[in-house]
């Protein structure tokens, strides 16, 4: 991987092996390749029961009665529970407590949990569920997100008075949140109506080119491979121990405790092996259900969803409907932009308010625009609930604003990169919320670098042009090259990193140093969820670099240490990495203090001259002063153990104001630029992505290999959204809940991906780093669609692009 190194805020010149900047092996890698790594679905205990969930077959219905008598009679069934058995709070939720643990009165989406069963075999549990009788009065679905946003006559998904009220979100009818943003001439302009039209007419008159388009982004699934699963084990103290795959142990604990009517200390969570997450594990799935059954039966209860159930068992990416208008001068300078975006949150709020916060504040993208009007809405419908997925809110908007940039460039006769460079933000720019970008943002340079990367070989120049594997349609043999057109497209996206809008998503780390068998050993303990991204590796690298010790162990993540916040929003290297760094610094200071106490450090030597290097306390002027082994002594023979716990908070952020949408709501910004090259079979509507190259600024590279994995993996999910991934929802019902019908990219669909990494440090972040996981997922989708548009000259306003869109058939 090519990496450009810039000035770095922190000196990482430490020579400790496998420290920051190197690419050491994942500490969980060996177990993962031998098959011994214990994922949440691999857990097993003697005498355990299998849990199963009865789900609503209707998207919208009143529950008239539930009869579990016949199910309980089945031999092997040990418990059947409904909403009546929920010991504490009947509803839970990430932001709004609006989702029933088990449905009562009404079901609001197809697949909503109604009852749970524990039995001696999964098949017994399945048969028991068949014997539960639920009497439904079916209601018409409330499935149109635009009507949910705007039509006061549309039926309510949640009855009046049943929801918590957040004044600042402008909740009304089915609206979960409405966030307006107004700048320039649009300040004071209402949501709709004549005033808005007047301002628009004036701006249009001043513009040399105007483009107005409606776009849609389909509902994407995170499609992690490890299904929702875990095991709850009843404890002797009346509490419960839960082993589960999640993204944030403490937020699960915070929701589970009240539902069970138990104090936090009686609900203890340990992270089981996580088979991918991508946002889908931010919300609870089987957690409360398993705990309820375990507490009721007094036995361990294991849940494992199958793939179909998984499609119903977690939230998806919000589908979005967007209407953009951009006006520009003849030289490409943007004059104004407007956006109405409606994101469909489905039956329960989940992360919808935060998604609206991102979609609005980043809705116009990283472009200087003096006059902006944004209205972003998140709504309730009876569609599948939507919440977090990699890049949430920003992914949807990015597809829209990047498509607009291409359309504008075409209208003005400019190269798409030239138009973007002309309007590019940079350090010191203010995004549309008035927030200053107070960190490097070399957007113009990134665009130009991406444009100048070497192009893939022309298809006609290929050695064997008839190799089917290189053509759209692949080995299906649908073309020998006839009807195949090449296209090139660009995309750039701006993503907020860490939590926004006043949320203090701190992280905690406990670091312990001791001498074992004559050698210094460090143990790092956090509650952070390793979901595949490689945080376990990075935590070890930080400890090695900061403490100059090679032997570092990573303790299992659990709730015995303070919260680490969520493994989402690209935030763990920043937040938990920062916490580990702080705890290591505290350990180091304690070690220095101890050495001073013992008179080992000359008084003339200040702490700033000291470091821990090679297992020794080293002074820059006087050299090695003492080995850690001598200073601390073997812990087994009463030596000193140094342990420090620290919380790492990022700088505070603000809520967007509810009228003009102004405020410094974001912690950090990340950016990625993509160039996609595609071959399109314009007769059949098939696409082969030939190359997908990226330029990303990550501030500081901690682990080059894992970083590449994040960028390539994020790009792949963006490719999926560009070309194939959409949960088909009709009348609020999912039509394709399987990997047979919901397609994610295979190795055949992915092109080679070149990566160019820049390192402009963010002065506010530990090591100057920037979260890296999400930005590539933003820009890859519009780049690929732009390339297909370039090849086909079709408008392509829907992501994913469907074959019929390419061929031009209206189905």
């Amino acid at each position: 991987m090519k990496a450009t190194t810039r000035t770095v805020t922190t000196d990482l010149s430490s020579t400790t092996r496998d420290g920051l900047g190197a690419s050491p092996r994942r500490p969980d890698g060996t177990l993962k390749v031998t098959g011994e790594f214990a994922y949440s679905s691999d857990l097993w205990m003697e005498g355990m029961l299998w849990g199963a969930t009865l789900r609503s077959p209707h998207p919208h219905a009143r529950i008239l009665g539930i009869d579990i008598t016949e199910a309980l009679k089945l031999p092997g069934v040990e418990a059947v529970l409904t909403h009546e058995d929920v010991p504490g709070e009947k509803r839970y939720g990430l932001e709004f407590q609006d989702q029933p643990v088990l449905a009562f009165d009404k079901v609001r989406y197809k697949g909503e949990a109604v009852a749970v069963v524990a039995a001696d075999h999964p098949e017994t549990a399945r048969r028991a569920m068949e014997r539960i009788r639920v009497d439904y009065e079916v209601l018409p679905p409330v499935s149109d997100s635009l009507r949910a946003a705007h039509d006061p006559e549309y039926p309510l998904v949640h009855e009046e008075g049943t929801l918590p009220v957040h004044e600042e979100y402008h909740q009304r009818g089915n609206r979960v949140r409405h966030q307006p943003i107004r700048t320039g001439d649009f300040v004071g302009v209402a949501e709709s109506g004549e005033g808005q039209q007047e301002v628009l007419e004036r701006l249009r008159a001043r513009a040399d080119a105007v483009v107005e388009t409606e776009y849609e982004v389909g509902m994407q699934d995170q499609a992690f491979l490890g299904p929702e699963s875990g095991m709850a084990v009843p404890a002797e103290d009346g509490g419960v121990d839960l082993y589960v795959a999640t993204q944030w142990l403490h937020v699960d604990q915070k929701q589970i405790g009240p539902a069970l009517g138990l104090p936090q200390d009686k609900v203890r969570l340990t992270l089981a092996g996580v088979g991918g997450a991508f946002g889908a594990r931010e919300d609870l799935s089987m957690q409360i259900h398993a705990c309820m059954l375990a507490l009721r039966t007094g036995k361990p209860v294991k849940f494992v969803y199958n793939r179909e159930e998984s499609f119903y068992g977690h939230v998806h990416r919000h589908p979005a409907k967007m209407r953009f208008e951009h006006g520009a001068r003849a030289d490409g300078t943007l004059l104004y932009a407007t956006l109405e975006i409606v994101v469909d949150g489905g039956a329960y709020a989940s992360a919808t308010p935060a998604v609206v916060g991102v979609a609005s504040s980043l809705g116009i993208g990283p472009y200087e625009v003096p006059n902006v009007l944004v209205d972003a809405y998140g709504v309730y419908t009876t569609n599948p609930p939507c919440g977090a997925m990699r890049g949430f809110g920003a992914v949807q908007a990015c597809f829209g604003y990047e498509s607009q940039m291409d359309k504008l460039a075409e209208k003005l006769g400019m190269h798409p990169v030239e138009l973007r460079v002309r309007n590019a933000m940079s350090q010191g720019s203010r995004i549309i919320t008035g927030q200053e970008i107070d960190m490097p943002l070399p957007m113009a340079e990134m665009l130009e670098r991406c444009r100048d990367l070497p192009m893939p070989v022309e298809r006609t120049a290929l050695e064997d042009p008839a190799d089917q594997r290189t053509l759209p349609g692949g080995v299906a043999g649908t073309t020998r090259g006839e009807g195949v057109v090449r296209g090139v497209g660009y995309g750039v996206g701006l993503k907020n990193l860490c939590f926004s809008e006043g949320f203090d998503d701190y992280s905690t780390a406990r670091v312990r140093m001791e001498i074992v068998a004559g050698e210094p050993v460090v143990l790092v303990h956090t509650a952070a969820a390793e979901v595949g991204q490689g945080l376990v590796t990075v935590k070890g690298q930080i400890a090695r670099t900061e403490l100059g010790v090679e032997k570092v162990a990573i303790a299992p993540s659990d709730t015995q240490v303070g919260s680490a916040g969520s493994s989402s929003a690209s935030r763990q290297s920043y937040m938990t990495g920062g916490a580990v760094k702080m705890a290591c610094e505290a350990v180091r200071e304690s070690v220095f203090a101890l050495a001073r106490e013992r008179g080992i450090i000359p008084e003339s030597v200040p702490d700033a001259e000291l470091s821990l290097t090679g297992g020794k306390v080293v002074s820059r002027s006087a050299g090695a002063l003492v080995s850690l082994a001598d200073l601390l002594g073997d812990s087994a023979s009463g030596g000193t153990v140094v342990e420090e716990t620290r919380e790492h908070h990022h700088r505070p952020t603000e809520m967007l104001d509810p009228t003009l949408g102004q405020g410094a709501s974001h912690t950090q910004f990340g950016m990625c630029v993509h160039r996609a090259v595609v071959d399109v079979d314009v007769d059949l509507g098939l696409v082969k992505v030939v190359a997908l190259d990226a330029v990303q600024d990550v501030g500081k590279v901690l682990h080059p290999q894992q970083l590449a994995g994040q960028i390539q993996g994020g790009s792949a999910q963006g490719l999926g959204l560009a070309l194939m991934e959409e949960i088909q929802v009709k009348d609020s019902e999912i039509r394709n809940p399987s990997f047979t019908d919901y397609l994610i990219p295979t190795i055949l669909d992915m092109p080679p991906m070149r990566i160019d990494v820049l390192e402009h440090p963010d002065p506010h972040a530990p090591y100057g780093l920037r979260g890296a996981g999400e930005p590539p997922t933003l820009s890859s989708t519009p780049a690929i669609v732009a390339a297909v548009r370039d090849a086909t000259k079709r408008p392509l306003t829907h992501a994913p692009v469907r074959p019929e869109d390419i061929v031009g058939i209206d189905l």
Partner: protein, 172 residues
């Protein structure tokens, strides 16, 4: 019902098997071999790939009864040497996957390892050429990975192929 077959060179018997169980379920829940993964249980993702009488197959699609008298090899067989767990050295393919960064969440990894092992057996292992990108992509097309974008997996396969070819060269 009772099902007896050979797993990783050992004769095993599972009792009280419900006829609707898959080979995958029997391996994971009855024989203590959870290495093969249950990602889709629809034969679409390849995470449960095992050798079934020497041919790679999705063990979720094989009824437990079909395994009677057969020979099954799982990811647990890929480490070198005898014994279980930490005592054994990683096999060439396993080693290459860790080294190349092809493992993130790792849920797809066991299936990919078995499929890669098979590809290398058929190519460099049979005295042939190391597979090129196109051949690797074709061979692994039935194994879904959601984390990596596959680039590091391709790197890992090249690395393993080179090492296996080297080992074959030095032993001949």
């Amino acid at each position: 019902m009772r099902v007896s077959f050979n797993v990783n060179g050992e004769d095993v018997t599972a009792d009280n098997v419900w006829p609707g169980e898959s080979l995958l379920y029997v391996l994971r829940e009855r024989l203590g071999l959870p290495g093969s993964k249950n990602a889709c249980e629809q034969g679409e993702c390849g995470s449960c790939t095992v050798y079934f009488d020497g041919v790679t197959a999705c063990s979720c699609m094989i009824a437990a009864g079909q395994a009677e008298g057969r020979e099954v090899r799982t990811v647990e067989s890929l480490a070198e040497g005898s014994g279980k767990g930490g005592d054994r050295a990683l096999g060439t393919v396993q080693e290459a996957f860790v080294e190349a960064g092809a493992v993130q969440c790792g849920f797809c990894t066991p299936g990919l390892l078995v499929q890669t092992d098979d590809l290398l057996e058929r190519t460099v292992g049979a005295g042939g050429q190391a597979p090129g990108d196109a051949e690797i992509r074709e061979a692994l097309a039935g194994n879904l990975c959601r984390c990596t974008g596959y680039e590091k997996i391709i790197d890992a396969v090249h690395l393993a192929a080179a090492r296996r070819a080297e080992a074959a060269g030095s032993s001949s």
